[in-house]
Structures are given as structure tokens and as C-alpha cells.
């Protein structure tokens, strides 16, 4: 039985424009394809990844236009389709003035006090 791993992201948008994705989300997709089992916890400002309707299109530097902007909402939705549960810390959502209705359907909310119990559901914790 493969280990079940909880991936934690709390620093968002580090290089999402250059990479056209979030590297920790991307590698989770890739390892899931290789047979790994994962969950994803978004904390701090990274809860913003779960907001619907983000649009990073339109970047042009010099004459070079970006034709494939990051589509984080889609990346998370596809992870959930691959049976990777996505969690957000509820207090971090609220502190940023976000409401549950603004988040992707299917994202699970967990209170800060519930994070430790969530850890207990996994064999390992990887903090990116």
C-alpha cells in the first residue's frame, strides 16, 4: 500500500506566471499519475488558489506575450477529479475576506484546530 501524503502549500504565486502553474501542485499531479496518493492543504495566502474565476491572462513583456497563463483553478479541479482531496484552512479564508461561495466546489474547509487531526489521516506530511 503506497504511503498517503499530505502536501501543504502556504506561499502562493511564487513563480506561477513563469512556470504557468504552481510547482507543488504540478508535481502532485505528476506523482498522482505515477500512482501516489495525496491530499493538498492550502494555508495562509495559498487559500487564494481555491478562489473561482481567477484570470492571469494578458501578460506581455517586451514583445513576448504569454499565451498560456496559469490556470490554478483548473489545476485544482483536475486534482480533485483524480481523487486528491483539497483542503483550505477556514480561518485563513475568512481573514482574507473570502467566503465559502467564492471557492471552488468540492474544496474541503478545515478549522485550524482540525489541522492536527487532518495530519493524522496521512502517512507523511510534505511542506513545500
Amino acid at each position: 500500500m503506497p504511503k498517503r501524503i499530505l502536501q501543504i502549500i502556504d506561499t502562493p504565486y511564487r513563480c506561477t506566471l513563469e512556470e504557468q502553474d504552481d510547482p507543488a501542485i504540478w508535481i502532485t499531479h505528476a506523482m498522482r499519475g505515477a500512482g501516489g496518493e495525496f491530499g493538498l492543504l492550502l494555508r495562509g495566502s495559498a487559500v487564494n488558489y481555491a478562489v473561482k474565476g481567477q484570470d492571469a491572462a494578458g501578460l506581455t513583456i517586451g514583445g513576448r506575450k504569454q499565451t498560456q497563463p496559469p490556470r490554478l483553478e483548473n489545476d485544482l479541479a483536475r486534482l480533485m477529479e483524480k481523487d486528491v482531496p483539497v483542503y483550505v484552512v477556514q480561518e485563513d479564508v475568512e481573514e482574507r475576506g473570502l467566503s465559502a461561495g467564492e471557492l471552488l466546489p468540492g474544496v474541503h474547509s478545515v478549522n485550524r484546530t482540525g489541522v492536527a487531526a487532518l495530519f493524522g489521516e496521512f502517512d507523511a506530511i510534505w511542506h513545500w
Binding site: 503506497p2 504511503k3 501524503i5 506561499t11 511564487r14 513563480c15 510547482p23 507543488a24 508535481i27 505528476a30 506523482m31 499519475g33 505515477a34 500512482g35 501516489g36 507523511a124 510534505w126 511542506h127 513545500w128
Partner: protein
């Protein structure tokens, strides 16, 4: 019970930018001296750590020529760690994420480095006693 362990370390930072790089190499050094079987998955900027063309330089501020400055180069540390692991009965399998190598043009690495993919990280971690990921900030 054998004390020999299998560990996997995943790193993301390139050289000369922050303390996480040296901290990671120091931890790997300890494991190498203990003869552990170590897998390092160098992801994103960390693929630059083993870049073969890193070159030392003099330092006029320090008042030293290149030889005196003896600037440490991560590629030397990486090559040496591979030897240290082997000399102590263990191994260091250093894997550069292939796509990360391509986008950065870091195709020339010191001997002993291999190109891989996230599947290699997953397989190594699944077979390891413990895995440490050191993300970037």
C-alpha cells in the same frame, strides 16, 4: 536491527541565494557519513546545484585572488557527497528534474547526476524510511 536508513530529500533552491541550500547539503552530509542510502530530488532551481560550469572567482573586496578566496562551489559539494556516501557504505542518487533542467538550460552536470521525473521522487519516497521536502520561499 540495521541502523542503515533510506532517506529522500527534495530541494528547490538554486545556489548562492539563501541558507536553505547549505542547510540541506549539511543534512545530506550527515546522512552520507552515516552510510545511508540517500536519494536527492533536485527540483526547479536546485537543478543548478550540480551545474558543471560553476566557476570560482577572485574577490577584490576580500582582497583575495581566486586561489586565496577558494570560493566554495555547490557542484564540488554535490560530487563530494556522492563519494562520501559511497565511502561509508551507502549511496547518493542525485536526480535532477528533467523538465526543470530543460527550462533552465542546466544540461551539463557533474558526473554521477541523473535526469529524472516526479515519478522518481514518488518511488524513492515510497521506499524510504523518511522524506524531507525543503520548499523555496
Amino acid at each position: 536491527m540495521s541502523d542503515k536508513k533510506k532517506i529522500t530529500v527534495s530541494i528547490m533552491d538554486g545556489p548562492f541565494e539563501n541558507a536553505r541550500t547549505v542547510t540541506a547539503l549539511r543534512l545530506i552530509d550527515i546522512a552520507a557519513r552515516r552510510g545511508y542510502d540517500i536519494t536527492v530530488f533536485a527540483y526547479e532551481g536546485a537543478v543548478s546545484l550540480a551545474f558543471a560550469k560553476q566557476t570560482p572567482h577572485a574577490n577584490a573586496v576580500h582582497g583575495r585572488d581566486a586561489a586565496e578566496e577558494d570560493h566554495p562551489l555547490p557542484r564540488e559539494w554535490v560530487a563530494s557527497l556522492i563519494q562520501t556516501a559511497s565511502a561509508n557504505g551507502g549511496s547518493l542518487d542525485w536526480i535532477n528534474c528533467g523538465l526543470c533542467v530543460d527550462e533552465r538550460g542546466m544540461s551539463e552536470a557533474v558526473p554521477g547526476i541523473r535526469r529524472g521525473s516526479p515519478a522518481d521522487l514518488w518511488k524513492a519516497a515510497d521506499a524510504s524510511d523518511g522524506t524531507l521536502t525543503i520548499g523555496t520561499r
